[in-house]
Symmetry: C2
Subunit: 164 residues, 2 copies
DNA sequence: CGCTGTTAGTTGTAGTGACAACCAAATGGT
DNA sequence: ACCATTTGGTTGTCACTACAACTAACAGCG
């Protein structure tokens, strides 16, 4: 079967998506690293913990919420533990599982980093889009994620608890 | 000044964008690496060269077309050169500049990799979107890139030569 | 010319992520 | 009860990227 090449519309959309995917992480990382001495991914980890009940989450759950693989998360959490921002302890209910909990220092770190990060997100992503485009972006994102992560294993998009 | 936190619409859009940005590179890398023994970024480099006149581009131009920094590109091109997919030679017109040219083996490699790559892009990105959403994605991408890369230094979006 | 500044690119090194191998606890069938 | 499988997580190694420092060549100006 012949490969179906991209027509102009497809090419235009694809070109821009790749550019965004290539450039956005760098912008986020640079800001957080210089302002708060942490990676965007580290920020995500801390932020997810900060919103969890008892500031505690199992590694697997944390991995889902941060779109990460378990090995990657394990390394990062160990480093965060070295910096006393997070602590790990075995899960009482399941001997295999490990819980990660945000320390007070970790809480302070997220609280300190959040405003600058949110500003960056506004400046580079939210502000340039119209209200209508935000809605479109959500729909497009859902469509893509249905293929990128069919089982929704990584992306916990709806959180009925919070979606008040 | 108080930080303006994200409302629900903003949060929904942002959450999905981060997930896509986090997951898409992995999908592309995995497919290309297993099928063609190359990174998505390496593929981009080879593909851009393959479309250039004389299959040759200056490092700076190549960096722009691949949304990369010069140091990063330099390392990657050296590795590609080790694999005989690319060759470098000093630019005759400008003693400072270096030209990168795709070798015949490099050409064969892109040609071999392209169909599988395009299929992956179709499956994971293009197919799940409607024609209308493709247009929206282009507009959204342009809006974001106007902030992520204001000078358009990295993103060479329009290529009048090819945009029949 | 010579000096200064800018542009083009390379290289060293330190930090991170991917992948595979591994271990331990739980589950399930017989 | 017992063994096989699955689940949850960690660790080691290797490859890649970012950042900074550096070199070489051009350009402008006195």
């Amino acid at each position: 079967m012949e490969t179906q090449w991209l027509d102009q519309t497809e090419r235009e959309a694809w070109l821009r998506l790749t550019a965004v995917v290539e450039l956005l992480p760098g912008v986020l990382d640079t800001q957080l690293r210089s302002a708060s001495d942490m990676t965007h991914f580290e920020y995500l980890v801390l932020a997810m913990l900060s919103e969890a009940p008892d500031r505690t989450l199992r590694m697997t759950g944390l991995a889902q919420r941060t779109n990460a693989t378990l090995p990657r998360l394990s390394h990062v959490v160990r480093r965060l533990e070295d910096r006393r921002l997070v602590e790990r302890f075995p899960c009482p209910e399941d001997g295999r599982a490990t819980n990660a909990r945000l320390t007070d220092a970790g809480w302070d770190a997220v609280v300190a980093a959040a405003p600058g990060h949110v500003d960056t997100v506004r400046q580079h992503v939210l502000d340039p889009l119209t209200r209508e485009q935000l809605g479109q972006l959500k729909e497009i994102g859902d469509a893509l994620l249905s293929r990128l992560d069919p089982d929704g294993r990584m992306t916990v998009l709806y959180d009925p608890e919070r979606a008040g």
